[in-house]
Each structure stands twice: as structure tokens, then as C-alpha cells.
Amino acid sequence: MQPQELLPHLFRTEYRKIAAVLCRLFGIEHIEIAEDIVSDTFLSATENWSLKGLPDNPTAWLYTVAKNKTKNYLKRDTIFKQKLLPEIKYTTDSTGEIEIDLSAKNIADSQLAMIFTVCNPVISAESQVALALNLLCGFGIQEITDAFLANKEVIYKRINRAKEKLKESEIRIQQPSLSEIGNRLETVLTTIYLLFSEGYYSTSQNVTLRRDLCTEAMRLNYLLIENPATNIPAVNALFALMCFHASRFEARANDHGEMILYEDQDELLWDRDLINKGIYYLNQASTGTSITKYHLEAGIAYWHTIKEDAAEKWENILQLYNSLLILEYSPIAALNRTFALAKANGKPAAIAEAEKLNLSSNHFYYSLLGNLYTGIDNQKALGHYETAMNLATSANDKATMAGNVERLKNLQE
């Protein structure tokens, strides 16, 4: 690999590791210093490698340079030295030099500590997601802006406010104790799932970026699986869920980035390895006594990996949606449950239930009604699809709804 190809790759994989170790070393009040040192390290790599060619071991080179820059910084900055040096957690070797520990274990521990720092309820969920992308995944402001289809200034402010808030609250960068993990993990899982959903359901046209978001969410989740203290059933269930969803990534959009509906997807494009991985982690999750929404959603996603419309499939999906709604209501679960009800108990039963849902501002509600009335009263179905098309806001949704209208019109001719 040439430096110009290798560097972005290393930036993606190594930036966050070094940053996590340095952030934990310096504490929350000095994360910018940690970020500056890591950025500076990569800048040196860019200059140095283009002149002298690649070093034998680029990662080790980055680690050594980051360590030296940190040591120099600590020597140079007297204020930092006086105020902070007595407090910071560092180990010294025999020569009395500060040892910056970039071992695999310390990197993993630091990243885990950083996950718990970022996913702290003192900052809002959307700030947690943005900050996670920035601090834990090494995404730049521009990339985060693209992923959120937001304004660069908004994202910049959001991230800085979140950092300020963490500093004000004097959040310590450390792994929570075993007894704390139970409470704190829920927030962490919510943020990871939001991050994944941002990539999976985003209307951004940048497919590569969206896929990166999903991969990053899975990577963070996997860090929790690797650590025995956080490797609990809900963590495995969420990982299984993301594996099942991600298995359809290739099949769910065409070459123009337009969505392909589940029933029209080419099953051969589904990633069998990811499906098998999902099954493995769902089994891992099936211990203990508590069933979380991730278990139920992973179960639903599992049944969706079987393409044929078997009666058993839809009955299972319906019961899982029943349980999911009993646990926690959401409009999208209510709509999907009604779709499963139609498959399991027939369309007339589902229409009766759909009309009780009271979701008349939701375009998916009308597209569900359109689907349920198709074959029963096509004129009504068409009306519902048209309402859905008018209510949809994103171009992608509008296109999907227009496709439904078109399909039904062709059916009638």
C-alpha cells in the first residue's frame, strides 16, 4: 500500500486508539490536548512518509511518535506539568520517564472507558452519537455533518457543547465499577443502536459513509463483548440484531442508491456470514432471565433472514412484535406488528386493528393501509398510497410511495 492509501486507513483504525489512551491519561478537562497530539502525529506521518517512504511498521511508528510528542508536551508545558502531572495516571519506567502505555490491553481498556464517558446521560442522546463518532470513531466534523445531513456549524457546536458539558460535570474517564455497569450499559447500548440506525436508515446518499457508521457501531458493540465485565446478554442481543440488519446492506439499495423493499430484495445478495454470526450471538444472548427489546428485535430480524413466507415465520414475528409493544410502545413497531398480523391472521383482521392505531400523521401508516387494502379494495388502497406519497417528506420515501402507486395502477390495468 502507498502512503496516500495507507494513511486514511491508519487514521481510521489508529487515531481513536491513541486518542483513547491519551484522553484517559490526561482526563476529560484536557481532551483537546490529547486530540491535538494525535492529529499532530498523523501530520508528521504524512510529511515524513511522503519524503522517506513507508516505515517497516507504520503502526509502531505512529505509536512511537505519539509517545514522544506526549513526553515532549509534558516537559514543555510548565502549567500542565505543575497542575496536572501530580494527578495524572502514568507509570514511570526505571529511568523515571513517563511511560505511555499503548499496549493492546490498555488500548482496549481506554476505549471502553471512553465509551462510558461519551455515553453519559448528562449530554443528550444526539450529542452522544455525534461525540461518539468524533472521539471514539475518529470521524471528522465534515463526515459527521454528511452523515446527519446537518449544517457543519450545528455539528461543530453540538460536539463542543457536549465536551464542555462533560468537563463541567467533571466526568472521570474510567470504566464503571461492576455494580454500575448494569445501569450505565443501557445508555451505552441506546447510543450504539442510534449510531447504527443513523447509518442504516439515514437518507444520506453517501452509501460508503452510511456503511461506515454501521461498522463503527458494531465495532463499539464488539468491544463490550470482548470485555468480560460488559459481556452481558443484552450486549450480545444488540450485536446479533445489527448482524442481521447489516446482512441485507448489499441487497437493500440499487445502483442509484434507491431503496429496494424487503420483498423485492435478491436473497443471494444477503450476507450469509453475517447472518450466521447473528445466529451465534443471538444464542449467546439467550441466557439469564431478562428479555430486552434487543432480544425481541433480534428475534424479529432473525425471522426476516428466512425469505419464504412460511406460516411459522409470520406467527413468530407477530408474537415477538406483541411482546416488544408490551415492553415498549413505538409507532413503527405498532405498524410493523399490524403488517405481521396481516400475514399471520389475514388482511381483514389486520385492517380492523390498523384502523385503531391513530397514526394519521404518519405516512407509513397510509402505506400500510394501502398494502392491506390491496386485493380487497384497490380503489381504497390507491387512495391510501397517494396520501402516503403526499405526506412523505424525504425524496427517498416519496419515491418508494410513488412506486407503490405505480405498481397498483399497473395491477389494475
Partner: protein, 114 residues
């Protein structure tokens, strides 16, 4: 929106109780679908629990086989829903699939806290 308690009473004790164990088995899916339907309207308050059939009944100066000996029906299940008024709560209660085997559903509105 008000909260309503739905209490399902059914015969748990008689030898020829209706619903029979087989009927109860057959009722699992319709029952889950009924509760799921209430939850899908966001009208379920808390997840229904399953209650055992063992139970204890306490009275002052307990007399076994007291006046309640004549009453065959016990509580089979109970949970809380949200509804505008009694009309709506009763409409929801009518969906209980065990009614067809002789169960009764008692509907009680929670007195709003003042």
C-alpha cells in the same frame, strides 16, 4: 385519558371448569394478540404479569369454606389500560378471547388523583 383496571375472572377451581386447560392452551395466541393489539394502540399501562392459580384468601377469623365457597370465579388476570371513558374501555375489554368460555371481565376506572 383515564386509566382502567381490567380484571378477568374465571373458574379456576371446579372440576369441569370452563375454560378447560385445553381451551386455555388454545387461548394463548388470541390472548397475546389481544394484548398486543392494545399495546399497539399505546393503551397498555405496564406489562401484564402471569399469576399462579395457587393463591391465598385472607379474612378476619378465617373460616375455611366460608361464604365464598359458593363463588367459583377467581381472578385469572389483571392489567391496566388507558382509555378516554368507560365506553372505550368496555370496547377494549370485549376483545378478551376468554369471554367465549364463560370468563367475565370487570372494568374499573382509576379515580384521578386530585
Amino acid at each position: 385519558m383515564n386509566e382502567f383496571l381490567l380484571v378477568i375472572h374465571r373458574d379456576l377451581k371446579s372440576k369441569d371448569a370452563s375454560p378447560s386447560p385445553e381451551q386455555m392452551q388454545a387461548a394463548i395466541k388470541p390472548f397475546q394478540d389481544w394484548i398486543g393489539g392494545i399495546a399497539a394502540q399505546n393503551k397498555l399501562v405496564g406489562a401484564p404479569k402471569r399469576w399462579d392459580g395457587d393463591g391465598r384468601t385472607i379474612k378476619q377469623n378465617t373460616v375455611i369454606n366460608g361464604p365464598y365457597a359458593e363463588i367459583k370465579e377467581s381472578i385469572g388476570g389483571l392489567f391496566i389500560i388507558r382509555a378516554e371513558d368507560y365506553d372505550e374501555a368496555v370496547e377494549i375489554a370485549k376483545g378478551c378471547p376468554i369471554l367465549q368460555w364463560g370468563a367475565t371481565v370487570e372494568v374499573r376506572m382509576a379515580v384521578p388523583a386530585v
